[in-house]
């Protein structure tokens, strides 16, 4: 097992190299010299920022050498300094934004798991029942719902009509004067809608996946055996079938992470949440290239780590699989 864990961890190295290569190629996507385009598109960019860009990415050197120099820097988390007014190191700007994004994603993941798995299991065990049909319709709605539209509708409902929740930011103006308890309440009120939106968009996929898995597992021989032994239906479903049906859910959760992290751009900019997604969006709008590259690489790195954890967890919980 430990050999597998070490091997699997080492596999991240070539993946990381690949990710940096793809990210690096994006800098050169623009026709001609990326700095030329910068001047065309962004009249605000000064000769100074042009010079900074050339220096940062060593654009006057050969391509392979440019890549090597860039990777050498990001290996020690040096993504350069932001092009914005504050000119702070990119890594500082990103690391202070990561916790809130991770918090929202973690909360919505918990909500997704707690709601989607029971929906999937019950609709599979009661296939074609009213509940199954209702949840299928719910799944279709979920797949077709634009996240940002849902966010807007919730803002109108809870923010404008009912006035229950604030529609932007993560703290109120008077946050600093509040007692610790009301500070927490304040956070919860602000995070309610973003977490809800983030969770609702992931619910559909997981509940459908759980349902399909469950349906397949129920047909297996060992379930027939369990029933033949005279076990109660409850025991068959919740002990024998569910355990096996839920294993692949670990993998699917990890695979859904890039979507969740990517989606944070949308709800963080709608609800003005100072997370990684909002930082990324603002950087794209102001063409703050060092920050853009930094978020892209770090965001991908986070998904890589999540995939690693999922694979290792899988290896631990599924004794049928042996790794060498």
């Amino acid at each position: 097992m430990s050999v597998y864990v070490i091997k699997r961890t080492l596999m991240m190295v070539p993946m990381m190299i690949g990710i940096t290569m793809i990210s690096f190629l994006i800098i050169h996507l623009a026709p001609g010299d990326p700095t030329e385009m910068l001047t065309d598109l962004n009249p605000h960019s000064s000769a100074e920022s042009l010079k900074k860009l050339r220096e940062l990415y060593n654009l006057d050197k050969p391509l392979a050498f440019q890549y090597f120099l860039w990777v050498k820097d990001i290996a020690i988390l040096d993504f350069g300094t932001s092009f914005s007014q504050d000119a702070r190191p990119v890594i500082d700007k990103i690391s202070e934004r990561i916790p809130i994004t991770l918090l929202i994603n973690a909360l919505s993941l918990i909500i997704i798991i707690v709601i989607a798995i029971p929906i999937g299991v019950v609709s599979a065990t009661k296939q074609y029942s009213l509940f199954d049909k209702a949840s299928s319709i719910f799944v279709f709605f979920g797949f077709s719902m634009p996240t940002f539209w849902l966010a807007l509708l919730l803002m109108i409902l809870f923010g404008v009509i009912l006035g229950w929740f604030p529609i932007s930011g993560i703290t109120s103006f008077n946050h600093d004067q509040l007692t610790p308890f009301y500070k927490l309440v304040d956070y919860v009120k602000h995070l309610f809608m973003p977490v809800l939106v983030s969770a609702l968009t992931g619910l559909a996929g997981l509940s459908r996946f759980t349902r399909q898995n469950m349906l397949e597992v129920i047909l297996q021989d060992y379930i027939v055996t369990a029933r033949a032994k005279g076990l109660s239906e409850r025991r068959v479903i919740y002990k024998h079938a569910m355990k096996n049906a839920l294993l692949p859910v670990i993998t699917i959760m990890a695979l859904s992470l890039p979507g969740l992290i990517g989606g944070s751009v949308i709800f963080e900019s709608i609800y003005s949440i100072p997370g990684m997604g909002q930082l990324f969006f603002q950087s794209v709008m102001s063409r703050d290239y060092p920050v853009i590259m930094g978020v892209l690489v770090i965001g991908s790195f986070l998904t890589l780590v999540a995939n690693l954890l999922a694979d290792i967890t899988y290896a631990f919980v599924d004794p049928r699989i042996t790794y060498d």
């Binding site: 077709s144 969006f281 892209l296």
Partner: protein
């Protein structure tokens, strides 16, 4: 004989499809959208670009079915024209995704070995990078325009097609008709294009139909954020930006364009699922 069997195959498909009410509903939605997109100039009660400063943010009424926006433009007319953007982006983006996906998937599945290893690791890699981040990063280095949006959505959305095509090729290449073609001296390229590819198209068709819905969602999100289709060209996404800006006094700007996206994507999803079920011999 071949004609007879393929006709009955088509008949089975049509039979199964037409019994599936949701699938038919999806098909109807898609057809209606096509009609709307093509005949938008005839259907629109107003010029979508006509500014009327005397009638800004008017509530929905009989003269303006979905109200007017902050420049007094008719929201309903703009939505009809927005259908053109959605359809174009959906089809072109998925066309690009399928082209790339088929080339990579077919090469990986047919040649196997190291070609397969390299290409599939590349697919894994692309799946690790958060797609929305990748799209935004690419757009930051290019100019936001409808053409760039279509290309970017296409080049970041081919991975699932590649996996599907690869799986089909892996199983189809072991069939006797492939061995026969090889024995006759048919080149690899011709075997891939003329013999295996047509047989592997049904899962691609399903994934394309579902993918169009996904591409429309991505385009509208990008346009909503202001980095997709640029105003004054009306797209459902950039119309919703106005909805957000006027959220406290003009609910109709948020509700109707979003509903259009929702129904459209739903239509493609229902159609795609319907085609999948109708093609699946295990489902009756």
């Amino acid at each position: 004989m071949i004609n007879g069997s393929s006709r009955s195959y088509a008949r089975i498909f049509i039979n199964k499809f037409s019994r599936d009410h949701l699938a038919v509903a999806g098909g109807v939605i898609v057809i209606v959208l096509f009609i709307v997109a093509i005949f938008a100039p005839f259907l629109a009660p107003y010029d979508p670009a006509m500014i009327n400063t005397k009638n800004i943010l008017a509530e929905p009424s009989l003269s303006h079915l979905c109200g007017t926006d902050d420049l007094g433009r008719d929201v309903f007319s703009r939505m009809l024209y927005g259908a053109r953007i959605s359809l174009t982006v959906g089809f072109v983006a998925i066309g690009i995704a399928i082209l790339i996906g088929v080339i990579i998937g077919a090469s990986a599945g047919y040649f196997g070995g190291w070609v397969d290893d390299v290409l599939m690791r590349f697919v894994d890699l692309m799946l690790t990078i958060p797609t929305f981040f990748l799209i935004l990063a690419v757009i930051a280095f290019m100019e936001p325009s409808i053409y760039n949006i279509m290309v970017v959505i296409g080049i970041t959305g081919w991975m699932s097609v590649a996996r599907l095509v690869r799986a089909e090729f892996l199983s189809l290449k072991t069939h006797e008709f492939v061995a026969a073609a090889k024995a006759l001296g048919v080149s690899n390229i011709m075997i891939i294009i003329k013999h295996i590819l047509p047989n592997s198209m049904s899962p691609v068709l399903v994934s394309a139909t579902l993918g169009i819905g996904g591409a429309i969602l991505t385009e509208s999100a990008l346009s909503f954020l202001g980095i997709g289709v640029q105003p004054p060209t009306p797209s459902w996404g950039n119309m919703l930006t106005l909805g957000k800006d006027n959220i406290e006094f003009a609910w109709w700007l948020s509700v109707y364009p979003g509903l259009a996206i929702f129904i459209t994507v739903m239509g493609y999803n229902l159609l795609g699922e319907g085609i999948r079920d109708a093609l699946d011999p295990r489902i009756n």
